[in-house]
């Protein structure tokens, strides 16, 4: 034994990054659409991180002299009613929209995911209570519930995030519950019991990591809906505070200009919204295909 003291450290860390890259390469080359989705995600992340530094105009600066101008060399996406540069606003809005999506999903993952796993893993009363909560939430028309929550708590970004998280709770809880229930009597879980792991420990160290990939798919899909949901809330006047640039609110405001011919005001934020939702959906589909053992031949 003493002869190979370096063995453990040698073993560790071998092939981690390379294997991941290789896997990613396989995934992308296997399905070009998923590759496209990853590329789109990259674009979004770059826009979210560097957006405010790279935009050509101040997204909040009005210029009533150049209001409602169609796309041109100066204003790539045109200007809105107050003469603000739509391109800059669209880019800067990426951060907020992604933040809404990411935080709401993180929140619902933490709440719904854990509740669902516990329900599936422990069964019994835990399962019944979580099930009832889900049923109750599901019995609401979800968008109206979100509206109600935002209307009741006030229309701030935080509340939009909370509302979005609440309406997605059943989705997460159910997926997590189903996956946990499958694994609850799995050999490796039993084995972990034998080695003296407590139930909660098993839940966190054995079940959760195995459910993560499936939850990732769910998260990716919900991110898209979270953005759409925020947009819907904006349409009925429950969106973020002006003059903050946010895609949904820009589309909603621009929508009234479609008939009068200023199509660019709604179109570009709409396309960005579509771009992001599209990206998350494709990504989710792609991840599902990767995660789903059915796909592994």
């Amino acid at each position: 034994m003493t002869a190979v003291p370096s063995a453990p450290s040698r073993r560790r860390g071998s092939g981690g990054l390379a294997a991941t890259l290789k896997h990613a390469h396989y995934v992308i080359s296997d399905n070009p659409v998923t590759g496209l989705a990853f590329f789109m995600l990259l674009v979004l992340v770059v826009a979210a991180v560097f957006g405010p530094f790279i935009v050509p105009h101040d997204p909040l600066a009005s210029n009533t002299m150049s209001a409602l101008q169609p796309p041109s060399a100066t204003h790539w996406f045109g200007t809105d009613q107050l003469g603000r540069d739509i391109f800059s606003r669209v880019i800067v809005a990426t951060r907020l929209d992604l933040a809404i999506a990411v935080f709401s999903v993180a929140l619902v993952f933490a709440a719904g995911g854990i509740a669902g796993i516990a329900a599936g893993f422990f069964g019994g009363w835990t399962d019944r209570i979580v099930g009832r909560i889900c049923d109750t939430i599901m019995a609401f028309p979800l968008f109206v519930l979100a509206m109600g929550i935002v209307a009741a708590l006030g229309n701030t970004v935080t509340n939009i995030v909370i509302a979005t998280a609440i309406i997605n709770f059943p989705l997460y809880a159910r997926v997590a519950r189903a996956e946990a229930a499958i694994r609850r009597q799995a050999g490796f879980v039993q084995a972990a019991r034998l080695t003296g792991n407590s139930e909660w420990r098993i839940l966190l160290t054995q079940i959760l990591p195995n459910i993560l990939p499936i939850m990732m798919v769910q998260m990716s899909l919900t991110m898209g809906y979270a953005i759409l949901n925020a947009a819907g809330l904006s349409f009925i006047g429950l969106g973020v505070r002006p003059p903050t640039a946010e895609w949904g609110i820009m589309v909603a405001e621009g929508a009234t200009f479609i008939v009068s011919g200023e199509w660019w005001i709604a179109l570009f934020p709409g396309l960005s919204l579509m771009f992001a939702v599209f990206c998350f959906n494709l990504l989710g589909d792609g991840l599902r295909d990767i995660v789903d053992p059915q796909r592994r031949t």
Partner: protein, 337 residues
């Protein structure tokens, strides 16, 4: 079968109670002061107080809740302040409008998405698979109100193909006699083809708007479940028995693949009812969704409560139907009941 229905309803009761409580609390937390709103533009504090008393809003919350529940148990959903009519009556007249639109959207979406999903699964990895994914995802990527406005702009304003977005019927038609509340059915029952056409024409664009939104979840689940079924062993048996691809795909694979699709339909329907709220606003559709939104914005509790309760009951009923449908398709589910 009866036992199944019974036990389903029994499990639904706690959810319904939950819905009633949550809705009640939520509407009371709404920031608007209903009394002030309805006292009119120049009300004095006394006038507001008078209205508050009139509306019973000065009572403590538990008392209000008891009042609400006891009224509810008598089937009284209260009166909407903003429209001035009994909520039960309004929901009864508006629900068919929403249901007709949502069902049309759902059926239309199914007609497109299911074959699309099957094709995508059968030709997995082919251009049709990618096209299915791209098209349906694009449909769900746009906010539904935006799609609606674009379609109105295109088909009504620009092209003039669609009738004016003025609700369920052109102004110069009168509604058919109410039997089901569904204009399409009622007009046929009345033998009035003119009205049927007019109602159908009004439905086309909003239906399309909703359907575009519903394509993705249906196509996605159809594809996934077809893939799953196609890779199962009994399909191999069927193929090894020399059955034609048509039989294999439709009789063997598709019926099995329908099971998850049917289960998902409940969620898609609920999802569409949410989207409906926005679509109704765009198309001036006299449905229950636009009613609820207006009520919510004006802090008008009774309609919000009534709406949510109606939706919850609808949801329970829908799930019951889905369970029954599941039982019809899957003998295993029947025997468990």
């Amino acid at each position: 079968m009866l036992k199944l229905i019974g036990s389903r309803l029994a499990t639904a009761i706690p959810s319904l109670i939950g819905v009633v409580i949550v809705t009640f609390l939520l509407t009371r937390v709404l920031p608007g002061d209903t009394a002030a709103y309805f006292a009119g533009p120049a009300a004095t504090p006394q006038a507001i107080a008078e209205i508050r008393t009139k509306l019973g809003l000065d009572k403590p919350l538990p008392t209000q809740f008891v009042d609400y529940v006891s009224a509810l148990s008598k089937g009284d959903l209260g009166t909407s302040l903003s429209t001035g009519q009994s909520v039960a009556h309004e929901i009864a007249t508006r629900l068919p409008a929403s249901a007709e639109l949502t069902l049309c959207g759902l059926i239309f979406a199914l007609l497109i998405a299911v074959p699309f999903g099957i094709a995508a699964a059968v030709k997995q990895g082919s251009w049709i698979d990618h096209a299915c994914r791209l098209i349906t995802t694009a449909g769900v990527s746009l906010p539904v109100f935006f799609t609606g406005l674009l379609l109105v702009y295109l088909f009504y304003f620009r092209l003039g193909w669609a009738p004016a977005p003025l609700g369920r019927l052109d102004v110069f038609f009168s509604a058919p006699e109410t039997v089901t509340g569904f204009y399409l059915i009622d007009s046929l029952l009345a033998g009035d083809l003119e009205t049927f056409r007019a109602a159908a024409a009004q439905l086309v664009v909003p239906t399309l708007t909703l359907a575009i939104f519903a394509l993705a979840p249906i196509a996605r689940i159809t594809r996934a479940s077809m893939l799953h079924v196609l890779s199962s062993e009994f399909i191999r048996t069927a193929r090894a028995s020399g059955l034609t691809s048509k039989t294999v795909i439709l009789t063997y694979a598709f019926r099995n693949a329908m099971l998850p699709v049917v289960t998902t339909l409940g969620m898609v329907f609920s999802f569409l009812l949410g989207a409906n709220v926005l679509v109704e606003k765009v198309f001036a559709w006299p449905g229950i969704g636009s009613y609820a939104v207006e009520a919510l914005i004006t802090s008008d509790f009774a309609p919000v409560q009534g709406f949510v309760l109606a939706m919850a009951i609808l949801y329970v009923a829908l799930n019951l139907i889905i369970d029954l449908a599941y039982g019809i398709i899957d003998p295993r589910a029947r025997s468990e009941a």
